[in-house]
Amino acid sequence: MLGPEADETGEVIVEISVTVNGETRTGDVEPRTLLVYWLRDDLRLTGTNIGCDTSSCGACTVHVNGESVKSCTMLAVQADGEDILTIEGLAPSEDELHPMQEAFRQNHGLQCGYCTPGMVMAAVSLLEENPDPSERDVRLGLEGNLCRCTGYHNIVKSVLACAAGETAA
């Protein structure tokens, strides 16, 4: 995947200021810079993955003002002034996992791990909206996230375990 190329005219640069994982981060971006590239290439927050770059796989899911969003389908300039949470900002501290991360660990909710940051962010957003989901709710709630390894079964199990409070951090 290529990062943003230099603008031929070198003209249009927009200054943005975004709260990322609780800290104010500023940057000069071309308007066409996608949020995911700004996070990965400029802020070096490479936990957010790019899977498809076509809005389909959910690997790039982050929270915008608390809601899951595909960061490959949002411009960095659209995030100006907003509150972004990435997988790096989810855990309460260096040596503690977020309950959802812990649930994925305990329930073997990942294999290669490529989809995992996006899955976890989508799952946390899902439980914010529906704290007590059925198995079907979880499957439907994660329909925007593809996993090529697990067959989803253990991912669903992880999210249900987290919802049931079985993995308090």
């Binding site: 066409r32 770059d53 076509t54 915008v64 411009l75 659209q78 957003s125 439907l140 925007g144």
Partner: protein, 275 residues
């Protein structure tokens, strides 16, 4: 994939957005949720030289009671429609259909105005607004005008909006207690409908709208006429492909879509309580 370079301006109000559109002409495009426009720009299917970001015009994000109708601001996101108690009580088809769009991430960003203005025959919300007999409010430099949903979709990705007009509100008649149903057929989660059918009973009649059965979202007029003439739901649904022009793509041939239209229309009618 990175879109081609463009200038970016942010509008603080509908008036400002319209003035900016006037200034930049057909080179400019409005950016609402960006969930149709940005994917097209990444593929270079759209190459606007100016984007007018209306995503922060927050006074156009609302769902309110307008007396005989529900008024929805054009910048209202799919998620807000899906979870609206007012829509659930007064016009449940619209909220339900919004919940069928894409996936949660898409519904957190996409707006009803963007969905309608985009005029994609494969989209869900246009069919819902058509079936409900909704009205769209467009604002331009000289004020606002109302456009009936039936007159809004003029061609493949084309609408009745002028270059310097913006959709500000969508009105749907209240229909508490009406029978309604939406059938969306797709083969992968999160996908657009291969075919969809929305049915709603209004004022003693039944409206049916179809997704992905032509270059625009369509009313199934042959089905509606058959029902008005006393045909059963099952018989009327046999007419679902009449007057349509189903596209061919990777997912389906026209024959297959015609078949789906008949089956889904029958299911939608029956689930809406039309027998």
């Amino acid at each position: 994939m990175i879109p081609a370079a463009f200038d970016y301006v942010r509008a603080g109000s509908a008036e400002e957005a319209i003035a900016l559109l006037g200034e930049h002409g057909d080179e400019a495009k409005l950016l609402a949720g960006g969930h149709s426009l940005l994917p097209m720009m990444k593929l270079r299917l759209a190459v606007p030289s100016v984007l007018v970001d209306i995503g922060r015009v927050s006074d156009l994000s609302y769902i309110t009671d307008g007396g005989d109708h529900i008024a929805v601001g054009a910048l209202t996101r799919h998620r807000a429609l899906e979870t609206s108690d007012l829509l659930a009580a007064e016009c449940p088809l619209l909220g339900h259909v919004a919940g069928e769009v894409g996936d949660p991430q898409v519904r957190h960003r996409g707006t009803i105005g963007g969905s309608l203005a985009h005029s994609d025959p494969a989209s869900d919300l246009p069919a819902a607004v058509l079936a409900l007999g909704g009205t769209l409010v467009a604002q331009g430099p000289n004020g606002s005008r109302e456009i009936a949903a039936g007159d809004f979709f003029t061609g493949y990705f084309e609408s009745a909006l002028a270059d310097d007009e913006m959709l500000t509100e969508i009105r749907v008649p209240k229909a508490p207690g009406a029978g309604w149903n939406y059938q969306k057929f797709n083969r992968r989660a999160q996908d657009w409908a291969i075919v969809g059918a929305a049915a709603v009973t209004v004022n003693g009649g039944t409206n049916v709208a179809l997704v992905n059965m032509g270059s625009v979202p369509l009313r199934a007029s042959a089905v509606e006429a058959a029902l008005a003439g006393g045909a059963s739901a099952a018989d009327a649904a046999e007419q679902a492909a009449e007057g349509t022009d189903a596209p061919t793509d990777l997912n389906a041939t026209p024959d297959y879509r015609n078949h789906l239209a008949r089956v889904l229309t029958r299911r939608a009618l029956e689930a809406a309580g039309v027998s």
